[in-house]
Symmetry: C2
Subunit: 295 residues, 2 copies
């Protein structure tokens, strides 16, 4: 949408999705199943993206300009490091609708994205909503939540849009950046503790005390061994994109002069596992070898 | 014991305890209740230490020299930063028995302590056992475990000593440092995740999203809010001595070129809480204010 209508819409005629990865296409599918028109820009994208987009019922309008021209809501779901560049591209193409950044970025990055649309320099009339997704790609009811903060009317329209879907929308009371803060705090624990646990397994292995540590865990924290065993298959293939998210989390702490080293270390853990991209059934032994630089 | 008998003893006539803090005195009490003679050096120690030692049935031989002269087993339980200096003092006094370092130190520090006794430079005939304690001060059966590694005969005697006590002794297969490695790996998770959780609470507070984060935790990780609420009372008063332990854990990772930033950050968290020493019923609000440097 490139008109200069500055008021928030009551509903959306067309949703533009950037990009149909596993998460994005699962959100798009929720909308198309409810009858919404959802478009994406397939030009230059991978075969996997085209297949996922097709499965989700998304309409390929080919270029980003065509997407910007037609959509009155654009949802950005991309790796954290690409969030600002993606928003900037869309702002430069003259987008004048509601821009929902749903990426795992720091509150400060979320505010930077919002400023591209809400700032006086653009005068596009676009409205930015800050978002953060918690949970896996949308499947059944209760699987996944979208936190949003910003303009109340636009948020109301987004709530209406997903009302009958399996993506639960939760409004965060606060300015742009607040929804991202919820996401950062949540992932700080989940992805931070997983990285720590894998690092501990590598240390126990390096010291030759894995059996004794497992014995202690069996006594005092029986669930932890099982988590260590199942984590590699859960995070191995996705580690490559967790590194950037860990840096966004570290930046979130640093912005308030809070200790930020947990997630700088977690970024290092995931960076060492980056080559597992696309792998399946990654074992703990493989992860320990990669962390210990033995491969 | 200052004779130069280099063989491991089958049993111990007198145990020297350095020092009767909450953990040390709980271990001493297990031994005195079973009829063992346990001595400590009360010279220059605090009233609290004298009271705890008395309650535990420890005999005050006043000086460290008297303790070294009489004990054939010395158990060191002290803050991590004091472990090497304590061992060095005892080696210099000519101790020739079994020295059990039960402190929360890195494997490398544990090996440094062992070298003070087992090294050819001393020729004292003393035998060092590396140890690590997991759990709270000994109370009922199953509360607490002592991991040990090193000389097999001396470890057998230590196992016999605690056989009818509530302190469970577990032998770790490995050289000096292996028991400390188990302790480091265990505490890396427990104290590391607690520090992370408190840091996250401070971030949520700084961003004004505590309610939304608590709401998400209630949905997806219901036990985490309760842990956040109860952690301040559990760690506040002890945070001052966790800082050194976190540095020992970080050094344990760094020795194998594994990411060590989790525990450098945890050390910073506990350092900011150090002034809570001796406090009771510390609240999460107090902890968040201290972490945010708002007090």
């Amino acid at each position: 949408m490139t008109s200069s209508d500055a008021s928030s819409p009551d509903s959306f005629d067309c949703v533009g999705l950037v990009n149909p990865g596993a998460m994005g296409s699962s959100i798009g599918a929720q909308l198309t199943r409810a009858g919404s028109r959802v478009v994406w820009a397939g030009e230059g994208r991978s075969t996997e993206s085209h297949l996922r987009a097709g499965d989700a019922g998304l309409v390929d309008v080919e270029s980003m300009q065509a997407l910007v021209d037609e959509a009155d809501l654009i949802i950005s779901v991309c790796p954290p490091a690409a969030a600002v560049a993606t928003a900037s591209t869309i702002a430069d193409l003259g987008f004048a609708g509601v821009y929902l950044d749903a990426n795992a970025v720091s509150p400060a990055t979320g505010r930077s994205v919002a400023a591209l649309f809400n700032g006086s320099s653009t005068e596009s009339g676009a409205i930015a909503i800050d978002g953060g997704i918690v949970g896996p790609p949308v499947s059944g009811p209760g699987s996944t939540r979208l936190y949003i903060s910003g303009d109340a009317v636009a948020m109301g329209s987004i709530e209406n849009l997903f009302e009958s879907s399996n993506l639960e929308v939760r409004v965060v009371d606060g300015p742009a950046g607040a929804a991202s803060a919820v996401k950062m705090c949540f992932a700080a624990w989940t992805k931070g503790t997983t990285a720590l646990l894998l690092d501990i397994c590598a240390l126990a292995d390096a010291e030759g005390v894995t059996d004794s540590l497992r014995g202690e865990w069996a006594t005092s924290m029986p669930e932890l061994s099982a988590r260590a065993d199942r984590s590699p298959a859960m995070v191995g293939a996705k580690a490559w994109r967790f590194e950037g998210e860990m840096h966004e989390i570290a930046a979130s702490f640093a912005a308030h002069d809070l200790p930020d080293g947990f997630h700088l270390a977690a970024a290092e853990v995931y960076a060492r596992l980056a080559e597992l991209k696309g792998s399946r059934d990654t074992s703990l032994d493989e992860v320990v070898d990669l962390l210990s630089a033995r491969v």
